[in-house]
Symmetry: C2
Subunit: 388 residues, 2 copies
């Protein structure tokens, strides 16, 4: 997907960080980081797998399940000597663990007693995986470097930005489909079916990949429970619906949220939407390289404070390359206390919203930082949508 | 979704197992197990959350992120005193960890120094989560009970079997859509878009939920890399395509796989399909309660051995209620060495296949064990499909 030069450059920056952190061997288990360093791309993260970066070696090593070694051959830039595998006896077994195999492998290649970096806070590096690894490598020194590669991913290459623009094109279409489809009497799942169709078919020029999170479109009182997924009940008149979805292109995401009312909105909803729209517009206008994430949050807070509002959750987060269950990069958050300095080609999902008990308004944009400000990835009307 | 009586019965069986294992407090972090015990259902497993079962208490406690506490209120049978939460400062923070909060909570309610069971091998219980929990609860004794609740889930209630039948109805439709759509010159992603549309729209009577794995449909040489996801390249004449998908109804799955050829198959593919079909038919006919999983595998092995074939990966696995990234239950596997005894209302995905380097044939069924044999959930022709 990227040139070998781009992967080599990513590997070089990874090794520089390893050197600074005193890490000799890095075990990369986060699927997004595995993809970032090697191109590896398959739905195989439900079994243990990793990419091993050894400071003094030219190529990382992919290691995983036997039947996925072919996926490594097809999707990575690694030569066949750098692809290793364990057999199916290790899969979901009560007597064998893939980390037993991997520990023996590390020992065999002579790095089992080194300073080994692991991603302790990663969905696919379980408590058990770490225990087995420690058992198998009694002389290794383990260090937690959970976000080492994640932080390198924050500043995108121009090609990565282009991928996210493609993702945004898909997000625009999926959002338009959602707005077209939502109506009184329509089932929630039928709206999601139409969204998925659009997300995956993409455009005539390029197809869509699966987003790391399913479309979410809570309505009515459920807007205060934003991660409840759809059901087969129908939308009712006067409900407010918050749609949050992403376009995805070759694992790169552009999330987008909008709010729709079924029938004419009440004055309260209309007023609230105006506050949110003014807030996001002011925030996007203010963003500049050199600002900190908490300064971005402060712009929003001050904007809505004029109308007496406060919001205590995060306003946004770094996004890009990702696998389920999350499209956030888990590095910078746009919130109080986050002093990350914005730099050109960083990308975020800015997701401001205000919720009451039985309705809420949320209008979001994914953007990247430019040399002089920021640019939203998607071009989609920033308004409350009304389905009469 | 289920009656409070059914949840109470599940809780009772859980406590019986806890008692046997010497566990006083069980921390359930597997989303499927959380759902099984409480009904909790939301796409919130990308942040730390759990259900706490305390041996002497009537209700479990749900604990998670503040904005998901409303989802717990809407989807579980728990009263509001049994729903606790941490604030957004703990989300993806480098200075605070949700397990710090949860450790303090367990201490506060007086169980922080007990024998605590944890699911060590669960995607959402990270190495870091366990470290923080141990730090916060220095006087607790931890025991690994990864599959304690998973094993209880193996034997389905009649209502769960009905849910899986609904899922199978959706799987049949999605498979028919896939077969109708695949053709020379059609992009892989457009086939997946149509599959998703069908999976989520479901039927007029009930809608579809998101399956725990995306549709997989490798073709040509990629059939030997079964977890590679789709691209936007087009299907070519004479390619063999293996389609693996599931229908999902209220988180219950019925997976199904079939093989399609674009254009007339070669004699080799036709012959291979006959071997696989004979093998799966003989295996399904032989299944009886009282047999072991490895005895089921032996039926298949003997069937294909007549034609000189051997298959070294798993033939199947227990399935049902699940969340991404896997619809397997991680308990019984249909393979050599697994001595699990089949009992009525156990459910499996039987997925036999034979692969060469550049093509393969796979034809699967999800089935449940009955009093006298087994029944396939789906009713879909067990054949090689030819798209002329």
């Amino acid at each position: 997907m990227f040139t070998e030069e781009e992967y080599q450059e990513r590997l070089k920056r990874t090794k520089e960080r390893m050197d600074v952190e005193g890490i000799e061997v890095l075990l990369v288990t986060n699927p997004s980081n595995m993809n970032y360093l090697t191109g590896y791309d398959a739905w195989s993260f439900y079994v243990h797998q990793m990419v091993i970066v050894i400071l003094e070696q030219d190529q990382p090593i992919w290691i995983g399940r036997k039947q996925d070694a072919n996926a490594a051959k097809y999707t990575t830039w690694l030569d066949s000597k750098h692809i290793a595998f364990y057999t199916d006896e290790y899969v979901h077994s009560r007597t064998r663990h893939p980390m037993d195999y991997i520990a023996a492998y590390l020992t065999k290649i002579g790095v089992g007693n080194r300073v080994i970096g692991v991603e302790m806070e990663n969905y696919y590096f379980t408590a058990k995986a770490f225990e087995q690894l420690k058992k198998g490598l009694a002389h290794a020194v383990f260090k937690d470097v959970t976000l080492l590669v994640n932080y390198l991913r924050m500043i995108k290459s121009d090609k990565e930005i282009r991928y996210m623009k493609n993702a945004a094109t898909i997000a625009e279409r999926a959002m338009q489909t959602a707005i077209n489809t939502i109506a009184e009497g329509v089932r929630e799942n039928d709206v999601v079916a139409a969204i998925y169709q659009t997300q995956i078919s993409g455009t005539l020029e390029f197809g869509g990949d699966y987003p790391a999170i399913v479309p979410l479109l809570p309505s009515g009182e459920k807007t205060s429970a934003p991660h409840i997924t759809w059901s087969d009940v129908t939308y009712k008149k006067n409900q407010t619906v918050i749609i949050e979805l992403a376009g995805c292109y070759k694992r790169y995401h552009a999330p987008l949220a909008r709010t729709v009312t079924v029938g004419f909105p009440t004055k309260e909803v209309k007023d609230l939407a105006e506050v949110v729209i003014e807030g996001i517009n002011e925030t996007l206008l203010a963003i500049q390289p050199g600002m900190t994430c908490e300064e971005v949050e402060a712009v929003w807070s001050q904007s809505i404070a004029k109308y007496g509002f406060m919001k205590d959750s995060r306003l946004g987060y770094s996004t890009g390359l990702s696998y389920p269950p999350d499209w956030g990069e888990h590095t910078a958050s746009i919130r109080k206390g986050d002093k990350t300095i914005l730099q050109p080609n960083m990308a975020f999902h800015l997701i401001p919203g205000i919720w009451y008990d039985d309705y809420g308004v949320e209008i979001s944009e994914s953007f990247y930082v430019t040399d002089t400000g920021c640019e939203a990835f998607a071009d989609f009307p920033r308004q409350l949508f009304i389905k009469k």
